[in-house]
């Protein structure tokens, strides 16, 4: 008895972590579960009424759901490309150079992350209204790039801070022009950070409801579509597509992690760069 008690005490924290993680995953489980729910009218009704594969077989039969998902994917892809490029350049400037206005730039990057989404959405809408701009895909694109930039900078910067510059110096010593060094050395070494940042930007964009709700006009992204039908009844296909999206993202991330793991193992094969210094 006391042995069991001792075991419980020793592992209490890990047991707690297990329970907490189940709690984090519970809604995802519920989303997946209810994509198999046999509802009467093909709409979610918040109660379990039996198992069916119908909605997975007809995953793409609700055109409105598909259209919204396609809009979301296009928007997320475009916003991700632009914000990742812009954000990576900013991170390079902030980590590699000393210049006037660094503090202000840091503030400019931090503030959007510390502003409630509703204020970002409302202020953009105010500007678009005053200029009489038509709301739609373009305004959504502007907004999504805007709120993604900060997160990209933060992720890429954390990768840049622990960056070994000796390889770059070696390339420069061997006469490589700066742009060649950047293309053949810096970029490949930075790639995992950039990919992580892009994944985050993509997730943020496809997830966003609040800011989009203010600046979408009649354009419907996936979250906006769900919101629109949430009072009339959500097609079960929404859960099917959400589950699919989750699986694809998870597989993508697993791929990136595996690639990173492999790259690190390759790097560890390299001979010790400073065998002489150890004696000193």
């Amino acid at each position: 008895m006391s042995a069991a008690w001792a075991w419980l005490r020793r592992n209490a924290l890990l047991i707690y972590a297990g329970i907490a993680v189940l709690y984090m995953l519970l809604p995802i489980f519920v989303i997946a579960l209810f994509s198999f729910d046999k509802t009467t009218f093909g709409r979610l009704d918040y109660t379990w009424s039996g198992f069916t594969l119908d909605y997975w077989r007809n995953a793409f039969s609700e055109t409105a759901v598909n259209d919204a998902m396609i809009t979301s994917l296009q928007l997320a892809a475009l916003a991700t490309i632009v914000s990742t490029v812009i954000g990576t350049l900013m991170a390079l400037a902030l980590v590699r150079y000393q210049f006037r206005g660094r503090g202000a730039s840091n503030l400019l990057i931090i503030l959007p992350m510390a502003t409630p989404e509703i204020v970002i959405g409302a202020s953009l809408l105010s500007m678009f209204l005053i200029y009489g701009l038509d709301l739609g895909f373009t305004t959504l694109f502007i907004a999504h790039v805007m709120f993604s930039i900060s997160f990209v900078v933060v992720v890429v910067r954390s990768r840049l801070i622990g960056f070994d510059r000796s390889l770059e110096e070696a390339a420069a010593d061997l006469g490589a022009p700066p742009l060649t060094t950047f293309r053949t050395i810096t970029l490949p070494l930075l790639a995992p950070g950039i990919v992580a940042a892009a994944l985050l930007a993509f997730a943020l964009s496809i997830d966003d409801f609040v800011i989009s709700n203010f600046n979408s006009g009649t354009t419907e992204t996936f979250p906006l579509y769900i919101f629109g039908v949430s009072l009339r009844g959500i097609p079960v296909q929404v859960n099917v597509l959400a589950t699919l999206l989750f699986l694809v993202t998870v597989i993508g991330i697993a791929g990136v992690l595996w690639q990173q793991h492999r790259a690190e193992r390759m790097a560890s094969i390299r001979p010790d760069p400073e065998p002489i210094a150890t004696g000193g």
Partner: protein, 290 residues
Amino acid sequence: MNGARRRLVPYGLLGPGAIWLVLFFVVPMYYMGQMALRSGSLATGGFTFTWEWSNFSDSLSGHEEQLVRSFLYAGSATLIALAIAYPLAYAIALRAGRWKLLLLFAVVAPFFTTYLIRTIAWKTILADASPAVDVLKFLHLVPEDGRVLATGGAVIAGLTYNFLPFMILPIYASLERMDVRLIEAAKDLYASSTKAFIKVTLPITAPGIVAGVLLTFIPAVGDYVNALLLGGTGQAMVGNVIQSLYLQQRDYPEAAALSFLMMAAILVVVAVYLRLAGTGAFMGEEEEAK
């Protein structure tokens, strides 16, 4: 490359992003301020700038209740999230061993399902006839004829869940970076586990806690999705009012004025909190709070 050109390089790299953020984050704030001082109506040909300061008092009157409620709900959700997050982050950073990556993944997994669908899933979980509510009733946490959905508790639960990763990640980052030899040193000097935790671990991870609290609290105050989907008629938050003023009633000046009042209230609370927490660590810690 000559010296003058070299000095321009960082500005070239920074330029596109800085311009984007100024044009679409800073400038819109100015226009929201300008909007808050306009008068008129959509029916009579739009709004014109007239230094209409009364928008601020008008927007607040009748909505004090929602404003106060937002801070109460967001504050409660932040405290609960902190209580859940710290031990979890501690377990992941210092005890998980080979499970670390998997646990970390589980923490960010909610990000890969849409915010709205996640909240709707909670609506399913907390629905009147659901097994989860039966368990709560069995434990007498909810009265036999009571319900969870459409109560303040449901809104707080939703806020807690949705912003929890923002609490866990900064705390995890600060624990991960901590030198564990400091704890060993404390124990070598005959500190008990509890004392070592209070005297060593907690102060070292304080910046992570501060960052987590701010990253949870600030967005939670402005949220309206949880109150909309999980709350009833008596649980509206200030975000719901702003949203409705902007998008349904189209009273843009009052909506803008209320947004500013909410921001001002948040800034006051954050300033007081940072003062009490006695650290300006937020700026540096933000880095880890991805």
